[in-house]
Symmetry: C2
């Protein structure tokens, strides 16, 4: 019985006409070998979207109209989808490019972001039934008035997962310039290993802790619609990483990945009056500015005074800092505000943590042995994150990787 | 009473973000000054369409699928229409870009060319009624299945005229990099003068005789729907050239323009048997190859033999030559075929010729005085064309311009 597979190629994978021809060869070879129904989703050629953004900035300055921005940026994927369809035709297989309005890919704005609302699956299925390989332009949608919208960073992955969901596809493969998800960043940790399998939840925690290979958004979508995801290289045939709901032995290894991100800053409010509602008002102000808060730590001081620290994305740190200063001046003249841009957020992630206690203790011990102070801590069911001084980032990743992954702390290898 | 004006800007006029900002300023200034309802039509930035064609050639080789070619090439106008709408917004006027599917601009294929079949005028009018300046992407249409089509060379002019026609606009202004239609090419003839007014018919004859400023196609369309056309420069405020059905004094000057094109070649069939049906079979073969024949001359020779010459576009001359050789070999072994690539087609055009005889005689006299041989002749009601040796092109244009335009042969100046 023929399966349906969605194959998504990112900007680097379609970055030149030569690469587009390679994508076509790969897609056609897959179909010939497996007999699968194949749908392709493509991003814009690498650099093209940035070029369009620069044109926009030159014409419109720093503020632009959302509708026109969508009409402009969607042209990048229009170009690659048409070229890819031509390249597939040249390989002897019927193909056509499909733009958002041509498959009724409608979006809705939720809190300033365009989310996919519906896709006309029958339109795509119809072309598959005619023996074609449809090439869907990623990243783009249409609003209720028929104007183009764009899905934001990682949007083409979301397109691929959503197309796979409405087609009830058997697999959605995200081809990119790395060949899978690694236990740590290979450029930091030479002994990082590629993970064969991950759960959606692990992938989500890895994404939020700094793994760049997949955006949390498309993993959420894949989990919601139970789309089996796969990350693989578009430049070789190596086995990639599968991301699924669950798999045998998924708790065998406690830690699957170690990540570090250095793009957050820490804000600290000292000497706050410990009155009810004060913290709520602080975060209300930050929230109104559209700033996401990540880790939060509060410590009780002497005489009803308290100190609170939290992290925000570095690019929004200045704005948050100014908001806090305003707040302190207005409501809490005895308080003070500090900003620390030199933090790193270090995370260990693994399904196995659900079943094994003691990971945190070992993590602190390893870091302590290396002389690394822990500044803040946050945990989830399958993740422990700590804030440390940025200069120790690489050292910390390597030490934790050695302990948890290479030396298989907690016994067995993950067996995958 | 507010008028409706369609303003069309070609590739050079929107060739950079700076120029797009200038277009926006110009459009907004026009609206503020006149209170007109303004619709803008834009081409792709100059060079962009060629870049897309080159990408296509690299991916698809020399043959490409029409649908995908349309999906690909339409992206160029998508970019400029969005940027132009943004630039107009920045000038403080509401604007939006409109792509072919967004205004129901449908095309039909007639003999391999996409012609505009219908446009949803109400969709455009609706935005005008909201006080907006809509920016329509030129050159593009959609077929009955919703795929993009393209209108071919000069297609954006056709878009502008068709939009003006369905809106019953009072004027359609084609802004380009020259500031009007001249009595001869200014680079050949320094004393060429800009024409204030022309009839559709004169413009059509000028276009077919080599004036590049407007394609015959959009002039045909303008005449059919009686859209008053205007050609003007996008870089200055000089008065342009109006093209209308008729105007006062249009027959005062006999000759309005002198043109020369050197992109045709002459084929000659010598020593043909003068049997019925032979000529029909020759042109049937040429027609099947999709080659357009321009001038034709047949001369009776001795003993039932005849010689025939005709001109074709130079890029198709080799193909036509080979077809003739095949024909001669198969059916007329006594015949012979010659090709002459060094011809120029020289034309004088003017409404006034309808009323004045003797233009041909004067033309031949002027050319004879310069020692220029006439090889072929063809005439219409308002045009006389002759084929001459290419090396005399500039000399011939200057001599005829001096005689007919500068010295006002046939009396009165055109008074315009």
């Amino acid at each position: 019985m023929a399966q349906t597979v969605v194959m998504k190629f990112g900007g680097t994978s379609v970055g030149s006409t030569e690469r587009i021809n390679n994508v076509a060869k790969r897609v056609v070879a897959h179909r010939k070998k497996t007999g699968d129904d194949v749908v392709v989703v493509v991003s814009a050629m690498s650099g093209e979207t940035d070029k369009l953004i620069e044109l926009c900035r030159k014409v419109a300055g720093n503020s632009h109209n959302d509708r026109e921005y969508g009409q402009l940026l969607s042209s990048g994927e229009q170009v690659t989808s048409a070229l890819t369809a031509m390249a597939i035709q040249r390989e002897g297989v019927k193909s056509l490019s499909l733009l958002a309005p041509q498959i009724g890919l409608k979006t809705k704005e939720i809190y300033g972001q365009q989310l996919i609302d519906s896709i006309d699956a029958a339109a795509i299925r119809n072309y598959l039934d005619q023996g074609m390989i449809p090439v869907v332009a990623g990243f783009q949608g249409v609003d209720e008035s028929g104007g183009y919208t764009i899905l934001g960073r990682g949007g083409s992955d979301a397109t691929a997962v959503a197309v796979a969901a409405v087609l009830k596809a058997n697999r959605c493969i995200i081809y990119t310039d790395v060949d899978g998800v690694y236990s740590a960043a290979p450029n930091i940790c030479k002994r990082a290993r590629k993970l064969q399998r991950l759960t959606y939840e692990e992938m989500l925690e890895l994404a939020s802790s700094g793994a760049k290979v997949l955006q949390a958004r498309s993993v959420h979508l894949a989990r919601k619609f139970q789309v089996p995801l796969e990350v693989a290289s578009s430049f070789n045939d190596n086995q990639g990483t599968e991301i699924v709901e669950e798999y045998d032995g998924m708790e065998d290894a406690v830690v699957s990945g170690i990540n570090c991100r250095t793009d957050e800053a820490k804000l600290t409010l000292r000497n706050m009056s410990d009155r009810p509602g004060v913290i709520a008002r602080v975060f209300e102000g930050i929230g109104k500015l559209g700033i996401n808060v990540d880790m939060i730590v509060q410590a009780q001081g002497a005489a009803g005074k308290t100190t609170m620290s939290f992290t925000v994305p570095e690019e929004e740190a200045q704005l948050a800092y100014e908001e806090l200063v305003k707040f302190v001046n207005a409501e809490m003249p005895e308080g003070s505000v500090e900003i620390d841009r030199n933090i790193a957020k270090l995370s260990v992630v693994g399904e196995g943590m659900k079943a094994h206690a003691g990971v945190a203790a070992q993590m602190f011990e390893v870091l302590g042995r290396e002389g690394i102070n822990i500044d803040m801590i946050s945990t989830s069911e399958i993740k422990i994150s700590v804030a440390i001084n940025q200069k120790y980032s690489e050292l910390a990743v390597r030490a934790l990787h050695e302990h948890f992954v290479e030396n298989r702390a907690f016994g067995e290898d993950r067996g995958r």
